[in-house]
Symmetry: C3
């Protein structure tokens, strides 16, 4: 997320109680996870093995749990628990704003858009023209929805990212990473009933133009779905997956986080995708393989009894 | 769907801009997809390979993209893009009617039926006697619900069919087939929480008497579920599947479109059903097989290492 | 469930029309299924093979379909159809109470708890302090929710148990076991969007302290989920499963009823768990095995063609 106006690093250091190292006159312009940072952003790192990645990223201000050499021009904010400091900043700059009515006054809804009864439209939501939002849909704060979008009943747009840090030594072990990202739904998208599309942790979850989702589909935080994709019912996509244009996923397919499914790939029903897939091919299985290889494999399995018989017969004969 | 009153083919030809061939004095009585047509219906065909099926079907009026010989007594409406013409007719005869209140004035709700708070009941919906509709359920326009039906919270009845025509040469590739079918829920059905049951494209999606659905079940457009079926949570049934009476599907089973599962079949959890299954048997696997065959197969797989060892030992000995 | 005050067995016998055998002056204090009974409870049994289990259980009053020897101090209520008698009692002592507003007057909501628009809070619900209940959530009657709990939009807490008795000789074959249990959500739990957590048949469905559920998760009746568990999206847990503390289930995992998953177990995505699993291990597959064994097995399958070739070559050479 980007701040409404730049914030001085000295104010941030004091707010979170960190030691300021490096550039003292820096102005931070946003907050981001390490894989999304752009120039001006504050990010955080709390594992030594990621230090170098974070220090060499575009992040301008780095909250870190050890005083290390500060890269030229950057600012380090050294503190014992960077995760908690980062969460404190998210809560400050993107506080939860309770609503007391179904359609927030700060939302913008375009001409010829129909909002059916029971729909919740949160604060700062923008919805384009000529959309239909069916009953009992929930649109969390800050979501951005394009033109000609149809969202079917019961769907939830923009619930929090499912992202926790484990603290094994505590009674309550999981600390929540508060999310400040958004959901962006481009023009001409149709989303079925009872889908859930989570907001990004700090960046945006995007559903590309012309993509059509059937019912009960889950899209995790920060996933980026391309244009003209077609997902059948009960598909689940984990956080930060990238699905390129024109991908077709049949029913109940599961897709792991942090991977890429290439343009035009087709994945058959109930398949599980653990890692990136090349585009333009057809896949099946859990874990997934190219469909024709998987089909051959299923046939090979059927020939084990025949093989067993032959081996034991040959052995006796031998 | 059937029209409220018959419509002349000359009016339809003019409305969609088609050339009228054959019977000029025909009155059309309804709109239907090719697999659901009855006498009096308008249907459409846009692939040469389906011409003969459509021309020889019960359809009385056929929207077609080539001037062919018109069967005796029928009417052809010749037009470049039959799909778009058909969608124009659906939108005309079954227009979307926005609602401004949760319970539509045109709905009919039977005696002793309890509608809990937050429920949306659309236009022209009929609900029988002695039902309980739990909070935040959405019932789209034209649904028909019998007596003694229980629908748990968050369930969505009658969202649009997930049915698109792809136009690869356009930026926005998928054209929506607007649906004009209904959902019919017979007496004594119980539907769990957060289920989605889509309307048929032109015919009806039916849940047979006495059938019980657990939570988070998806039933696709035009599926016909028999009487006294039992589906466990998270089952997904694709469009136009026919599930006969007394079928039991355990959790997370996926069923493909356009198939028949015979009476009394039982399908174990997480199975995937790609094609029709004979009734009265027990199935397991993805893709599904008879459960006892599948179990044997799982055992054969476990014997591969043993087989490998024997073959290599025999070979050395040999 | 426990009654608000003890009820005499003579009243119960008359109410359900049963013959009273044994202790006539007994006071019953609650209603329970056989696997949950405690001292003072009424339970029922209608299969001879379960007679001994029920008669020797903690149940004080037993509704039974045959006059057998009554254990010392207990009361038998002999009746032709114990199931129907038990259901009559449930309906009497835990009648369905329709609501006419979204937030019931008999609910108790703690300080600093935010209830967003469109949320239904049923009768006798208790919600602790500092919770956020997001829009369009449904909380059925009698649920108990702790402090610092977050429930995302569209989630349904406390729908009825999916539990039916089959009567094959009737036109409507499934008789519903009315449920009188509750859902209990302990402190510091977060539940994602569009989840469904059913109430117990007579006992409680419990989500343990600090557990985090992603979106579209189904938890069946009477399941007991431990503390600090992490379940990814679209997981389904069947009735009465016991998941111990710190268990991690990845996306789309399915878990059978009546089993135990031991502390700290990890189950990979799309796995199916048919029976109990030892804690502290990593599992994969449907049906599930230890992940490293399953991975080996997947490799063995890939070697079948090689084995086939060798056997046929050896055979020719032989």
């Amino acid at each position: 997320m980007k701040f409404e106006q730049p914030v001085s690093v000295t104010w941030i250091a004091e707010f979170i109680g960190a030691k300021l190292v490096g550039n003292q006159s820096q102005m931070a312009t946003g907050l981001n996870e390490i894989h999304k940072v752009t120039n001006g952003d504050i990010s955080f790192v709390d594992f030594e093995k990621y230090y170098s990645k974070c220090l060499n990223s575009a992040a301008t201000v780095i909250i870190i749990n050890k005083e290390v050499d500060c890269p030229e021009g950057k600012t380090l904010l050294v503190i014992n628990d960077p995760f908690t400091a980062y969460v404190k900043l998210v809560k400050h700059f993107r506080p939860f704003e309770p609503s007391n009515k179904l359609i927030s006054d700060s939302s913008l809804i375009g001409e010829d858009t129909i909002i059916q009864p029971g729909v919740f439209v949160g604060n700062h939501v923008r919805i384009g023209r000529n959309c239909i939002i069916h009953p009992n849909v929930t649109i969390y704060d800050h979501a951005v929805i394009g033109d000609n979008v149809i969202i079917h009943a019961g769907t939830v747009i923009g619930a929090d990212a499912f992202y926790f840090k484990r603290r094994k030594d505590r009674a309550v072990q999981y600390d929540k990473l508060e999310s400040c990202g958004r959901v962006i739904i481009e023009d001409d998208v149709e989303i079925g009933a009872s889908c859930t599309i989570d907001k990004g942790v700090s960046g945006d979850t995007i559903i590309g133009q012309g993509t059509k989702l059937d019912n009960q589909i889950h899209i995790g935080h920060g996933a980026v779905i391309g244009k003209n994709c077609l997902f059948a019912a009960q598909v689940g996509i984990a956080g930060k997956a990238i699905i390129e244009d024109e991908v077709i996923l049949w029913g109940q397919v599961g897709v792991n986080k942090d991977l890429v499914i290439g343009k035009g790939a087709v994945v058959y029903a109930q398949s599980g995708v653990p890692a990136s897939l090349e585009g333009g091919k057809i896949y099946f299985g859990s874990p997934v393989e190219e469909a024709r290889e998987k089909m051959k494999e299923l046939n090979w399995i059927k020939r084990i009894p025949q093989l067993w018989d032959k081996v034991h017969r040959d052995s006796e004969e031998g």
